[in-house]
Amino acid sequence: MSFYGVELGSRLLLGTARYPSPAILADAVKASGAEVVTVSLRREAGRERGGQTFWSFIRGLGLRVLPNTAGCHTVKEAVTTAHMARELFDTPWIKLEVIRDDETLQPDVFGLVEAARVLAEDGFEVFPYTTEDLAVADRLVEAGCRVLMPWGAPIGSARGLNNVYGLKALRAHFPEIPLVVDAGLGVPSHAAAAMELGYDAVLLNTAVAEAGDSVEMARAFAIAVEAGRMAFRARPMEPRDMAVPSTPMIGRAALGDRDRVIEAR
């Protein structure tokens, strides 16, 4: 799997927020096998060194970072934040978030497309956090996005895949574009389900960070992502409405009253 020409072995991208401690974050990242972690940026006062400490910590992990524009509500905010992130983290990658609704953190897809176009023209490699809407996805690709990241459910909700039909349609419509389910996953089976649909990867944060045991949960998600991918490659059977006996009926001994009725006909 590759994003913008960068080959990756792991199909799990992990967020770095809300962990009980930096040590647990580091252990969870290791257990997840993730090669990409998401990061953000926030105001820092002159003599504070919180951001500097975090940056040293992230560099110590030796992984690729995907900065986000979390908290941005306008194109201008998102574009300025992306520029600051590119300089800080020295990467053209940007997880583009333009949020419309504070309750659901639903993306402002109109602002998202506009910001994606501005950034792509400026050399950014945009990972747009979007809905599963096909037309919006098409616009994002037109704008220059070569990765799409539809939500499974609202950020931090742990609801899983709210619209499997929509996600399947997106996969079918964009066979060549790397698709990542981003947000809303709560348990490993949600991640496995996304991968079984043929998604290329999943991005999650809260489900691991807020689990009772973040490290164990990170490992569980890693296994689920791999299992889901294997299942997709193995081409699952289609569901059907009626039962089909798995054990062959030919040669079965006739032992019951029902058999005698059938044989008498």
Binding site: T16, R18, S40, E44, R49, G51, Q52, W55, E87, L88
Partner: protein, 65 residues
């Protein structure tokens, strides 16, 4: 000169963004900056003159999802 830095007002004797950051104690910290909502690259801070009432934003790496 009165400028706003991350939403807080500061009376500074600094003509440029670079001088203001030094006065505020950022030193060689890993930060990114914007003035009045526009990104200012590190290489341009020395050349970026500040005016009374300017709004400066200074950000650093942070945990994110």
């Amino acid at each position: 000169m009165l400028i706003s830095v991350n939403g807080e007002r500061h009376e500074l004797n600094a003509e440029t963004l670079d001088a203001a950051l030094t006065a505020l104690g950022y030193g060689n910290a890993k930060i990114a900056t914007a003035v009045n909502g526009r990104f200012v690259a590190a290489t341009l801070r020395e050349r970026t003159r500040l005016s009374d009432g300017d709004q400066v934003e200074v950000v650093a790496p942070m945990q994110g999802g």
